[in-house]
């Protein structure tokens, strides 16, 4: 076994025992990244920073080493990393190197983590297949025939890199499913924490009221370790919660006896593939076998979630992306004789933003405009409140966690959706967006391979701020599923 194939927990133990050095571990990852170029997961490599951090980590090894000491991670391009290109996979931020470090990456490095480089993603985190990136598609390491498959999106590079053992873990961000869907498509674990658990400071904003960063890892335990290092109150983010961070790893007791797991009937969608439905049933049985009580529940407003999401998220995005105007940083179009400021804006933004981003900026601008605001934006906000209330009511009824499919299918082929209606792509988020709208924690756990041999995941949704309990449920599901499959190396 190569060092880069270790889990975070495994590497931590090996480092602590002195069986491995952080520098060797980092070198193994850098070699795997080099070999993994065809996956197009890493888009900016930072080997110098990595080795420097690894050497520093080796100097800190021992009993009181910090939680992620010497652990090599990949960082989604959406996170601002000081002095390192951070461009949200967009041409409009070409060459942008922030003068500051995002709170999440600062915390990870403070916990001893090693940064290997920046990871591919959909442009401004808008997409479910990593096909809107200015760096080109990231590729799923899983493959069953000649076709290259999507690793999902928007955190496609993160998912591909972790699944292919290029790094031990990666940061992702999740606005409508961007951690959980790619995790499911690549057979890894991804958790979107409760809104406010992880600071958004220094993370390029997509939809501020929905964005949350979280870890993407090989195991639930790794997710618990990494989430602990990423979480915590940040006075620089007004939406960050001033709550103590529990010891998530210590919460992985494996005991869920007497816990109530809700199965929401509204998630049983028309035309749902039998395989997904069977997987869902099997997941429920696994939790039941572990002593949990399975309860049918209703979340009646679920069907309105996707339309509400695709009003609220673009509305916020249209405003959040207004700052990319060519005035202060990033791309500025070449101007012709006599061009004025409006020409500069129009040309810069037309050249800098890809099609999907332009589409969402236009949708967002439309739904916020005079005369349409109430019909779209305000109505969507009311729907959002109802969706949140659906969850509040079932949790008040004693439900501890909710089990749903993570995605409506396994990974599809890159380019396959190119000519489809954009709404087809948006349907990828159907099981995940409710969680963002309600601000809840949700985790995707790989459970089985489908008939084609591709990974499929289930989603567990937890009570607000109960990531500890949620991860424990995920841990039980992971153990019961015994998912150990790895993609066959073709790259």
């Amino acid at each position: 076994m190569n060092a880069n194939e270790l889990t975070i927990a495994g590497a931590r133990d090996a480092l602590a025992k002195g069986e491995l050095s952080a520098v060797d571990l980092t070198m193994a990852c850098l070699a795997a990244m080099d070999a993994g170029t065809p996956l197009n997961a890493f888009v900016h490599l930072t080997p110098d920073i990595a080795l420097e951090q690894a050497r520093a980590a080796d100097g800190r090894r021992g009993a009181d080493a910090p939680a992620l000491n010497g652990i090599p991670l990949g960082i989604k391009d959406l996170f601002c990393t000081k002095g390192v290109p951070s461009q949200a996979a967009s041409n409009i931020l070409k060459g942008f190197r922030p003068e500051y470090e995002s709170t999440v990456t600062a915390k990870l490095f403070g916990a001893g983590a090693v940064m290997l480089g920046k990871l591919n993603m959909d442009e401004f985190a808008m997409g479910s297949s990593n096909e809107t990136s200015c760096y080109g598609d990231a590729v799923n390491p899983w493959k069953v025939d000649d076709r290259k498959l999507t690793p999902g999106g928007s955190s496609g590079g993160s998912a591909a890199a972790v699944a292919a053992d290029l790094c031990l873990g990666a940061t992702g961000t999740d606005t409508g499913g961007s951690i959980r869907q790619p995790a499911a498509f690549t057979g890894i674990v991804g958790i979107k924490p409760t809104y406010g658990r992880v600071s958004r400071w220094g993370v390029v904003a997509f939809a501020s009221s929905l964005d949350q960063a979280g870890p993407m890892t090989k195991t639930v335990r790794d997710a618990a370790i990494m989430l602990g290092a990423m979480s915590g109150h940040d006075p620089k983010d007004s939406t960050s919660a001033d709550l103590a961070v529990p010891d998530f790893e210590a919460a992985l007791t494996g005991d869920i006896r007497g816990r109530k797991i809700g199965i929401p009937r509204e998630y049983r969608m028309d035309g749902m593939p039998a395989e997904i439905e069977a997987l869902w049933t099997r997941g429920a049985e696994m939790l039941k076998d572990a002593g949990a009580e399975i309860v049918d529940i209703s979340l009646p407003h679920t069907k309105y979630a996707l339309p509400a999401y695709y009003v609220i998220a673009p509305a916020e995005a249209s405003s959040n992306l207004a700052r990319y105007d060519g005035v202060r940083y990033g791309h500025r179009a070449k101007l012709g004789q006599g061009d004025g400021i409006v020409d500069m804006y129009e040309k810069t933004r037309a050249e800098g933003f890809g099609k999907e981003v332009q589409r969402r900026v236009m949708i967002g601008t439309y739904v916020l405009s005079a005369g349409f605001y109430d019909a779209y934006y305000n109505r969507a906000r009311r729907v959002r409140a109802l969706i949140k209330r659906d969850f509040d009511l079932v949790f008040a009824d004693g439900i501890d966690a909710i089990l749903t499919p993570a995605t409506p299918s396994s990974a599809f082929g890159l380019g396959e959706m190119a000519s489809a209606d954009p709404v087809e792509m948006y349907l990828n988020d159907v099981f995940t967006v409710t969680v963002n709208l309600a601000g809840l924690p949700g985790v995707s756990v790989p459970v089985a391979l489908d008939a084609k041999g591709l990974p499929m995941g289930l989603q567990l949704i937890g009570r607000p701020w109960d990531e500890a309990g949620l991860l424990n449920h995920a841990h039980v599901l992971e153990r019961a599923a015994g998912f150990v499959a790895k993609p066959q190396k073709w790259w």
Binding site: P98, V203, V204, S319, R328, I341, L368, Y373
Partner: protein, 503 residues
């Protein structure tokens, strides 16, 4: 607080070619909050710094940067609301006003459209003794200022200075309660005075720290009363907004011009178009900036980066407990406690530090005399030299010392003026300076009698004239004072001259 009784002023009437017209004016005042740091970032607000030196990552809208509310700015808005007797909203929220401009880095201004921090209040605007307009305040909200675009440094390029970007502003919105250019200017002056008393805005209009958007419409006599009775704006004319005025004089000129422009249109059978206009002080006219059709669609929506602002009543109460005495109350107190006139009370309370100066001079002394000296001698002299009260070379203690010398009869009013000049130039303790310079009024009647006898003896012809016409006795008084080097107490001289001449 003492209530001032007043009557509402008559609205200004402009005679058109066909009818009489009245004006209806409402104002939006943008007041820069006095605070060392900006509304949502820790950057400094110091005026006059090198371009782009007071700019944080948040101010220039770097990717991933987030706003965090400055508690002090919120307290300042609350303090202002309390000063305008306004409702403080314990729940308020921030909205984004979206538009593209190079001096607006975020592409939106963070403001408070739907839930402002301060609700309805009022300002009493005095126009003459006993005549005042009560102006209703609709709301005050907090918002970010924009930066500054500079177009005249290079023929091909424009530059932007973000120092001002994100500085906290209070937008104070009035109801359409003002009825003439003078009232409008007086309203701005009164608001400015209150803000300066409160310490929530320095009121510096030249630096743009206090600017006004003025909404002007005209109507026929009687229409406004119909509006008042129904609160139906349909009774009023179509308004135009004159943006960004930062001089009281220009505000009056612009309103006057704009009203006459609208009247001319209406009397020609035309319609006033609702639009935003700019005042050109060089040409003395307003010009169209953009019409209603061209108006921006600002796409306001709640800022998802900021949670609603919830403040505690206890916190508001603490601020209320620390409120200074405001101009109206101070004026009433000055009139009651010091017996000063309405006019003098206005002059003395115009500025907080001048009022404080007056009070320390007047304490334990004759209030009216203190007012006369502070207003006529001190303020007159300061104005002549272009100095502020903070720069006065004569302290309150020194001026008080001079007044004490007058009160005890040690020096005459004339001597006191000379002494004031000496203290102004050289400083020193008035009593000591007077003594050192021998500035002592002679009240020793014996000495005066000697002097009077000498003058009478030397001027028999004058004596005869004065006996025939007692008014000429003044000549003897003058001669005596001259003979004593100005030291003789004029009251004593008067009395003795009259007696000796047998008048």
């Amino acid at each position: 607080m003492l209530d001032l009784t007043y009557e509402a002023p008559k609205p200004k009437v402009i005679a058109g070619a066909k009818h009489d017209w009245e004006l209806v004016i409402g104002m939006e005042i943008h007041a820069q909050v006095s605070s060392n740091a900006k509304l949502f970032s820790g950057a400094s607000t110091a005026f006059g710094a090198e371009p782009n030196s007071n700019v944080s990552f948040v101010d220039c809208a770097m990717p991933g940067m987030l706003p965090v509310i400055n508690e002090f700015c919120v307290a300042q808005a609350v303090r202002t609301g309390l000063g305008l007797k306004a409702r403080i909203n314990l729940f308020s929220a921030f909205d984004r006003k979206n538009y593209f401009y190079p001096d607006l880095p975020q592409g939106y201004q963070i403001s408070q459209l739907y839930h402002p921090i301060v609700g309805e209040g009022e300002v009493l605007v005095e126009l003459a003794p006993g005549i005042a307009r009560l102006v209703r305040i609709e709301r005050i909200h907090l918002e970010q200022d924009a930066g500054k675009s500079i177009h005249d440094m290079d023929p091909n390029l424009s530059f932007v200075d973000f120092n001002r970007t994100g500085v906290a502003l209070m937008e104070i919105v009035s109801r359409p309660d003002l009825r003439g250019p003078e009232e409008a200017a007086a309203y701005v002056a009164k608001l400015r005075q209150i803000l300066r008393y409160l310490g929530t805005c320095d009121g510096n209009m030249q630096n743009g720290n206090l600017r006004a958007d003025v909404n002007v419409s005209v109507c026929r006599p009687g229409d406004y009363e119909r509006y008042q009775a129904t609160q139906d704006f349909g009774h009023l004319g179509t308004r135009c907004e004159i943006k960004n005025m930062n001089s009281m004089r220009f505000i009056q000129q612009a309103i006057d011009y704009e009203a006459r422009r609208q009247i001319a249109i209406l009397e020609d059978g035309g319609k006033v178009v609702q639009e935003t206009r700019l005042y050109d002080p060089d040409r003395g006219e307003t010009r169209s900036m953009r019409s209603k059709e061209e108006a921006h669609d600002y796409r306001y929506f709640p800022d998802p980066d900021l949670l609603p602002l919830e403040i505690e009543q206890d916190w508001v109460d603490d601020i209320a407990a620390s409120m200074p005495e405001l101009p109206d109350a101070k004026k009433a107190r000055f009139m009651a406690d010091y017996g000063v006139t309405d006019y003098d009370a206005n002059v003395l309370t115009a500025e907080l530090d001048a009022a404080a100066f007056f009070e320390s001079v007047a304490a334990g002394r004759d209030g009216k005399q203190a007012a006369n000296w502070v207003i006529n001698e001190l303020f007159g002299r300061l104005n002549k030299q272009g100095l502020t009260i903070a720069e006065t070379p004569v302290t309150a203690a020194q001026l008080g010392g001079i007044l004490d010398l007058i009160a005890s009869g040690e020096i005459s009013g004339k001597m006191a003026k000379d002494l004031f000049e000496i203290i102004w130039t050289d400083g020193g303790d008035p009593a000591e300076v007077a003594a050192a310079r021998g500035m002592k009024q002679v009240t020793d009647t014996g000495a005066i009698e000697v002097a009077v006898d000498e003058i009478i003896a030397a001027n028999p012809a004058q004596v005869e004239k004065a006996k025939a016409n007692p008014k000429l006795a003044g000549w003897f008084v003058g001669q005596v004072i001259k003979a004593t080097g100005g030291k003789a107490n004029p009251a004593a001289v008067n009395e003795i001259v009259a007696k000796k001449l047998g008048l």
